[in-house]
Symmetry: C2
Subunit: 311 residues, 2 copies
């Protein structure tokens, strides 16, 4: 199994995004150095056309202190972070921008505007979060979901989380892609005392019945059986997903969050986060992200927005 | 931060265990090639003095086929795996053996004998499982608990899980050790919608109040804040545990299990499992364990049993 070259793969996404038509992105309250520097970098790289939505005096001062040139960037002056979130969501609802990017406000503050019925951004689906993971120990990029938005999803929410991730991966990789989804648990058998195993059985059947489309879904699978065909073999598991999983569905936010952070902090993986299931992709970067991860998140949003505009 | 050299550290545990007085270990139903080979290897290494408890004709046949020499090994002939579990537990209750080792029977079959009131092996504590993890990405060995026995522990069970892990680490490292325990969640703040954060706050306070002893306990901590002082710093967290965690308490079995397997299968970590909280340590190895992990598990049981006998 050839291992993934992480650096070139990141660059691959970025180059593909740059080759697309530029996407207008409303950047919500980029009032910290990291947030503003990230936007400037993505714009200078030719990845996005930013619309800065924030209190202008604050942004002006920050850009001067940090030596960041905001010339030529579209700007919408608002009083505070709350208004920034509300205005940015309106821009997305009107299709004036094709993606949103969180700045230095709290995730909840942005998301509560996004999920309002009047926002025009909601779909029939629950909104969820995906991390694209690039690890030198696995032979291809994969998604971990949901490690950031849905705390303890029930079965129907998990269904939406899976479908959102599947749709994103097809947007990223093209319509020939049929993502393989591993529904993770601690064991491979169904045990009514462990809800994730029951949900896994249900999700696999939902894919059989067309309640989840465009994906091969199997579970319950323990982590090793999901990512290693040899491990699955040893347990006598015959699954089209084992060893080839593209999407790992975590049983809950905690398990997902720990997997992502462990891979990044002990495994030198690169991760990039995106909120999906709304009408536009939403870039969520964290303070801990490096420049590479921030650009990658933008690139994913651009690729996803581009695929949507062509549908 | 110097990285851990995994190989020498494993050998260090094994050498220390070999330097101790030999420990008698009842090996329960070692009727698969892996299980029997593991025992023979540990005995020949001078780690343990095995008492084989299993159906003798079966063991004889297996040893001949596999070319494993059982000469000199004490043996107790029983009819089947269930009787093997029951007899081994009696030997431990009588202090005829100082540790148990699971062979090729199901974990539940062995554990249901151990937890019976009449076994004499139960203590006031809940029984729990620990994995000792050796990763080249972290600067010291650490424990992940409970990734194998308690599915969804409540607060009092988590208290016992923590105390069991603390006691084991002190047994392994000596009485000068004050283990640092990170109670993991997905976030660092208390949120009543995420039970692990509430439990974490309670466990930290229980350590303050002497309901957990001999340890520094802090939480809720996200994975990165537990193992990286720099990550904690960025979040403004001041904790004696951050970056120096010796024990990671998982919120539930699923999260723990995924962390362990991810570290082993994507991070090339070595793990060794042990059941603690009973009067004797119980070695649980899995089919996926290599020779190194199997010997390490034995070494941990020997060190733990030795420390107990000196108390």
């Amino acid at each position: 199994m050839p291992n993934l070259q992480v650096g070139p793969t990141v660059q691959g996404y970025i180059q593909r995004a740059k080759a697309q038509r530029r996407v207008r992105v409303a950047v919500v309250h980029p009032c910290s150095h990291d947030a503003l520097a990230g936007v400037v970098e993505a714009a200078h790289e030719g990845l996005i056309e930013p619309v800065l939505v924030g209190p202008w005096p604050k942004l002006e001062k920050l850009s001067e202190e940090a030596g960041l040139d905001l010339k030529g960037f579209e700007r919408i002056d608002v009083a505070h972070s709350h208004e920034a979130a509300a205005r940015a969501v309106v821009l997305a609802g009107q299709n004036t921008v094709q993606a949103l990017m969180k700045g230095s406000l709290h995730t909840d503050e942005l998301m509560s505007e996004v999920v309002k019925q009047a926002s025009g951004l909601r779909t029939a689906r629950r909104i969820s979060h995906v991390f694209l993971m690039l690890s030198a120990s696995y032979h291809k990029p994969f998604l971990i979901t949901d490690a950031a938005v849905n705390i303890a999803p029930d079965l129907l929410t998990k269904r939406d989380i899976v479908q959102n991730a599947v749709d994103l991966l097809v947007d990223l990789e093209g319509p020939q892609m049929t993502p393989r989804v591993a529904v993770l648990s601690a064991i491979e058998t169904v045990n009514p005392d462990m809800r994730s195993t029951v949900d896994a059985a249900c999700l696999a059947k939902m894919a059989d019945r067309g309640q989840i489309t465009g994906a091969l879904v199997d579970g319950p699978l323990a982590f090793d059986n999901a990512i290693s065909a040899a491990a699955a073999e040893r347990k006598g598991i015959h699954s089209a997903v084992s060893g080839e999983a593209d999407i790992l569905l975590a049983p809950d936010l905690e398990a997902g969050n720990m997997m992502v952070k462990q891979l990044v902090f002990l495994g030198q993986a690169v991760s990039a986060g995106l909120v999906v299931g709304a009408r536009v992709p939403i870039v969520l970067t964290s303070r801990a992200d490096g420049a590479e991860a921030r650009l990658l998140s933008c690139a994913l949003a651009v690729l996803a927005a581009g695929a949507r505009s062509r549908r």
